[in-house]
Symmetry: D2
Subunit: 285 residues, 4 copies
Amino acid sequence: MTTAAPSVLTLQCPDQPGIVAAVANLIAGTGGNIANADQHTDRESSVFLQRIEIDGPIGWQAFRRGLTGLAERFGLQWALHHPGTRARVAVACSGELHCAADLLNRVELGELDAEVVGLVSDKEVAAPLAARHGVPFVLVTGGLAGGERAAQEAAFAGALDELSADLVVLARYMRILPEPITTAWTGRMINIHHSFLPAFPGARPYHRAHQRGVKLIGATAHYVTAELDAGPIIAQRVVAVTHRDEIDDLVRKGRDVERTTLADAVRLHLEHRVLVWDNRTCVFA
Amino acid sequence: MTTAAPSVLTLQCPDQPGIVAAVANLIAGTGGNIANADQHTDRESSVFLQRIEIDGPIGWQAFRRGLTGLAERFGLQWALHHPGTRARVAVACSGELHCAADLLNRVELGELDAEVVGLVSDKEVAAPLAARHGVPFVLVTGGLAGGERAAQEAAFAGALDELSADLVVLARYMRILPEPITTAWTGRMINIHHSFLPAFPGARPYHRAHQRGVKLIGATAHYVTAELDAGPIIAQRVVAVTHRDEIDDLVRKGRDVERTTLADAVRLHLEHRVLVWDNRTCVFA
Amino acid sequence: MTTAAPSVLTLQCPDQPGIVAAVANLIAGTGGNIANADQHTDRESSVFLQRIEIDGPIGWQAFRRGLTGLAERFGLQWALHHPGTRARVAVACSGELHCAADLLNRVELGELDAEVVGLVSDKEVAAPLAARHGVPFVLVTGGLAGGERAAQEAAFAGALDELSADLVVLARYMRILPEPITTAWTGRMINIHHSFLPAFPGARPYHRAHQRGVKLIGATAHYVTAELDAGPIIAQRVVAVTHRDEIDDLVRKGRDVERTTLADAVRLHLEHRVLVWDNRTCVFA
Amino acid sequence: MTTAAPSVLTLQCPDQPGIVAAVANLIAGTGGNIANADQHTDRESSVFLQRIEIDGPIGWQAFRRGLTGLAERFGLQWALHHPGTRARVAVACSGELHCAADLLNRVELGELDAEVVGLVSDKEVAAPLAARHGVPFVLVTGGLAGGERAAQEAAFAGALDELSADLVVLARYMRILPEPITTAWTGRMINIHHSFLPAFPGARPYHRAHQRGVKLIGATAHYVTAELDAGPIIAQRVVAVTHRDEIDDLVRKGRDVERTTLADAVRLHLEHRVLVWDNRTCVFA
């Protein structure tokens, strides 16, 4: 039952009659088979989005030519991913290591199909974690304000560039990023925020959740955009809390939610299951 | 943004190349548009299943002719549902009325697009519920054994036939049905069982759950088959319980799970989202 | 195993040594037995809260005298509830009837131990629901602004007073209440808000949730205070949504969450399981 | 707000009047304060169970003497745990490493207050995991039948004894243990089973879940007893699955549920929050 992994085609375009048939015909005509397909039409914005898993044998060159033709005809944006190329992932963290440790662990166990090309942190405490997994560690120190902050941001940007990452995962990296960085990594940088957004964006969400007396806390994995904690949401999870839970308990319960939510989002991204439009995501799970 | 409801095509056949393109071409060729589509290929049994929402204008007669052609070519089974025909639903219950009351309530509120053509029960206590909603009440009394049981079963079967129901919902109807009935209603009779199947099939599941000390209880909505509580599962839900919960609490918590699970399953069925193969369901939610 | 229902004592006071022993001794000394007890010390505010179910035979008069003594000694606030007095509940709704219908249904089925003394609404569409359950219907019309608004608010306040309600449940009553009303009913008025507060307070939460692209929607039952949607939270629930869910789907999924969350909160309140301090609740579930 | 951790007293006895007062008086009389208390009376079996967190200063010797007195008077079983003694935990696994890796990770991150004294496995593949965390690795090889099996079981039992473990965690250790081992470790050996028990006990639960077409899969952490997968349940979790999920997907989704369920159970045990009676658990969470 285990077969060669399929190739993945993702596409989006203005909704219009004939698009499904055109793509299906192209696949059938170049010798492929649709192993799995999922699609969505957003009626409000009249956008059509699709993800297709294609089993070869297929003439990929002819297929790409055909797609280029469809792109012109339908205003199609597409991406084609073949199996076997492992994504290069840079993980960034600060002093809280649970999310980064969980990601490294999952890669080690083969749960995430990626290569962690570096662990970037503004805290030295993260170094042993990188060492334990044989991952290069990059320390980017610097202050929180003025020139020191700019230097730190430049170091961070430089580290990511140098790592030639396909994806950057902010695994509780507790720095607000400047717009050049968020722009450079649009759609390729995932953050975990430790609240159920849009509740409690910004700092100290567990403290605020405790003070408000909520009965559920959550975590949100989203693509990073220029506006803090406002990017397209990929995954969210919550867990019940009670009056018994003090802030320490929220932090503890939240760690499990953060880990699993972030790991979900990273996996979904790596499997090319997330399409973005209008600051929202289509997740073909 | 509110438009005419689409027609729904469901189909299944042995998996084979070209099927998606053939159906998409047929739709495009007869003037329709795919408003939404979902499909699944079960690799183990090599079955292809699809549900398509089609926006007209379409030449339905030509479309049906085309489908007949595809049926021959691909070994296709299909069903086509146009909006505007409200399903006739018979609801059956015994002494516990919460599921039946919930269904009648939902139909009353317009949440379920169906007409309840009758409430059938072996208990008179259900009569006021039917009266409150202006639904015909059918009492099918009789004993639990021997000739009385057979008479009761015949009365039940007769009631369902007379109601010309499209769907029968066993909303805590606490009788085991004989095979002629389960066969007659294959794929058109939904039962709610008050456990997380396959745990605790049969009688008194909450008592057994309590004795076993489980930390979650559940409910399962499934199509009825000849074997008790073993038919294709449509929906399942669970709720957490603790050592504090005595059997009465399990019953109380369970009622909410039963209600919502059953309502989910009925809605999914009425919207033609459930396809069955190999005693399993494909739920295009 | 079914025994007479116990009496319920709830109390709160500044945390201090000896309080548990003092209360336990009082119960034991007046012939009672602790059937169940739950307590909580909030370390931040040094508040002690407790809920005790007491099985008689007990000398209630001596017990109350003893409590009065403890109240002086420990700065104790307490309430004692004996079984057999059914709470008088007023339900208020506007045009969306699902929450009100669910509550009436639950009372009818014996799931909530209360008497619904009136259904109050600013919409005539709710009248048949009240009639169906034999509950008095009170229509409070009036405009949304100026003198008409004031008249409507006065009518609403008058209706609640006249019903001598112990508890008012705002079951999707879509009017913002003026402070005199929220003050008069402090701790005795429960609202259901159709979002996971503090996200999306105020109007049209499902629209905003859809626009933000959240992956979970929720509902929050809380005591009403002067500030809109900011009172002590009693219960919250969420349900997963996907890109497939349009606003109508959020509304549909949300209805189930609203219903069950509100019913939970009402039950918890009626069973004297909710204690309030610092705008937060202690829920002894 | 961070104070010295409290001591924890757990006790159980036949339910009887006066027990709560007697214990509270003993605590107050020896200079302690009840920081937190939780109790449960099981009405069916008339058992009283309690967990109390006690803030000193307290005369512990006098307190223990007092408890001994209460033990005689009330038929009390009790245990008293002071902070500062870190539990010795042995972790056992086979070829699937995710649960063991997660536990080691949590201990490393300070999430579980324990010392992992050894990783015991019947597979060499687990050795690098132990090395990565600086934990002694014990390989216990041997066959699945006859003398080889007996030798393997003896080696396993010997390894656990030698490690002087307070708690043994079977983190996907895929061997059925003989009764001498399960008896020796009663109440001190926790297993994770990869199904929602009592559904799918024994081998290959995900395969059977897939075949049955369930819509939720789960994991169960329980104390090990002589009967396979039938011991007192500490924690259970489930996750939704759909027709899209093939067995590999169930395995993947299940891993997250297994990890978190097992970690929950281990933490609850280490914090002395789990009391057992009648093959059920009282979890004072």
